[in-house]
Point group: C2
Chain length 396, copies 2
Amino acid sequence: MTKLPKKELFHIPDGVLYLDGNSLGPLPRSVPGRVAEVLQAEWGEQLIRAWNKAGWMALPGRVGDRIAPLIGASPGSVMAGDTLSIKVWQALAAALKLRPERRVILSDTGNFPSDLYMANALAGLAGGGREVKLAAPEEVAAAISDEVAAVLLTEVDYRTGRRHDMFEITKAAQAAGAVMIWDLAHSAGAVPLDLAGSGCEFAVGCTYKYLNGGPGAPAFIYIRPDLISEAEPALAGWMGHADPFEMATDYRPAPSIERMRVGTPPIVQMAMLDAALDAWQGVDLTELRAASIRLSELFIAEVEKRCPQLELFSPRDPDSRGSQVSFRFEAGYQAMQALVAKGVIGDFRPPDVMRFGFTPLYLDEGDILAAVAILEEVMTDELWRDPAYQTRARVT
Amino acid sequence: MTKLPKKELFHIPDGVLYLDGNSLGPLPRSVPGRVAEVLQAEWGEQLIRAWNKAGWMALPGRVGDRIAPLIGASPGSVMAGDTLSIKVWQALAAALKLRPERRVILSDTGNFPSDLYMANALAGLAGGGREVKLAAPEEVAAAISDEVAAVLLTEVDYRTGRRHDMFEITKAAQAAGAVMIWDLAHSAGAVPLDLAGSGCEFAVGCTYKYLNGGPGAPAFIYIRPDLISEAEPALAGWMGHADPFEMATDYRPAPSIERMRVGTPPIVQMAMLDAALDAWQGVDLTELRAASIRLSELFIAEVEKRCPQLELFSPRDPDSRGSQVSFRFEAGYQAMQALVAKGVIGDFRPPDVMRFGFTPLYLDEGDILAAVAILEEVMTDELWRDPAYQTRARVT
């Protein structure tokens, strides 16, 4: 019954051990052929007619429906499009409309910066004394007061890998009368999710990490089905209109999740994501999660044994982590450069965090052991002292 | 010196006369190879490292700088990204911040619906009694009062093809103390533009029409250089931060036009647009415009002679038109379906408008004469009465 690993579905370059699928998933082998078809047979041959004939118009909803089972959502509750920052804005703006009398957006200090930037910008634009308050991740549930309009949290912390308890916090938010918004950037495709069961009002996420949709792949937004018809799209673009091609002067949102569409969708990237999602056919997310824990536990044990210079930054309890493991090291930036130069790709997050992602679709225990052996060499031989790795460039 | 036509740079299917490049430009032959390279050599081989090594991080600004000369803007004043609706929102939100004491957004009844929807949604969110007022296109200059914060107009009307006088209206807006925003959806790549000379504060546009960037290609935003450092991005995503990879909790906008970036850019569609822009090398926009007028004048003359059922809807004076011509016909929807079935592709806009675009990069006088001959056949033989064309589907 287990279908793991699906390694052969992905292109992993020779000599590379890729522990950064939590940042940008690798190229699924199904993507280039699909893209060539969209370019040549659809755009090239059908031209404008492809919006209907090739199903371009319906593609964002179709892709949303394929993401839905991966996050525990029902068909018709997920729409793909835009970027995660835009979808955060839409979810949060809709939440504020649902709680007009409340002034506080609550988030945590571990949230991804873009979520906080968007929340602050929205609070400023909406005015009325609205403000963003931040609590420490461990204290966020206790900080939900009856002033809070919306709780906006990323389920898995991008730096530490720490995972919130989605059910508990959603319950606490709703008990206080707040709207719950989950950012699933580091969750979708990494851990089993039950959005419907959690009862949360909104969720958003990106698809270029564990879902392997490619660089700048479309984001997604989820709305709890009973709320769709009252959720204001905020960014009221024509594609979310009930009948875009009526071209009416007045906006009338689509009755369905289609209302969260904004402008003309990026069809090629949407098709890439659609093709990338093929890899999930037959994947049992509970088995995937068990494999992820096996890989990350092995990694932690080996690193702690062989690289005593590194200090575990992620929670030790696998149930409290997502699918990444972070270690702190003073020269972490330089050490990551040295490691990448030797073919082991992870990434670095300020101030001193070396981050490694575990993606059992294309990683196995042999990869982990090989990666740790190289990491040990980098640390023991202090390869990170090489002058080539001292200059700080922008690294994603 | 003339480099027109550049027809061989585009793929036009056999048997097709494409008069809809004003809606979706055809596939440039340079695009599939570039996309294959981005997928295989960049994403596939470099993985996350491609953000720096393959120049992905800088691509939106580089593409913006390639659009700049086509719209009369200087390098560093144009940024590519997101969709046109999002860029309208950003420009308008920044304009409202520049005129906090004023309450009115002025547009015209011919503006594209999405611009009006976004303007209304923004006015509602910003509150403070802000509202959108609409004037008839001919009366918009006279309607600019000292209550107006921003004038938001699409230079070329998507239905009629009527073209505003950019210099005159910008002058009128600024004389009244309002901020001027031009939407160049139907202008960029169609008519010579001198944004810098006009002095307008903001402009936005899309690239999948005359610029041939492909379905859902990224949009762009222009800010007058002296205003960049005070223009608030509104949608304050991390990619517009002065140092995104500092991952600071507080937002600090980039000092440059980079501040108008929002989320992670769609790299494949950005590269497609970059490749599509190659077609503009050596194109003199004044010559292109002259060719467009020759083609559209020929089309009007022939249609009026041979299809008396159709009534010209666009301005008769070519200087008052963009690069499209619209005719009204009661059964325009059905007639356009019949025409498309015979290989002449234009499009339909409610309530009864048959729309034809003139794109001298890949259309010549022979194409125009051949298209009119088929249109004459559709009209004379009343092919539009065929039951197959009576059902109204969504058509872009």
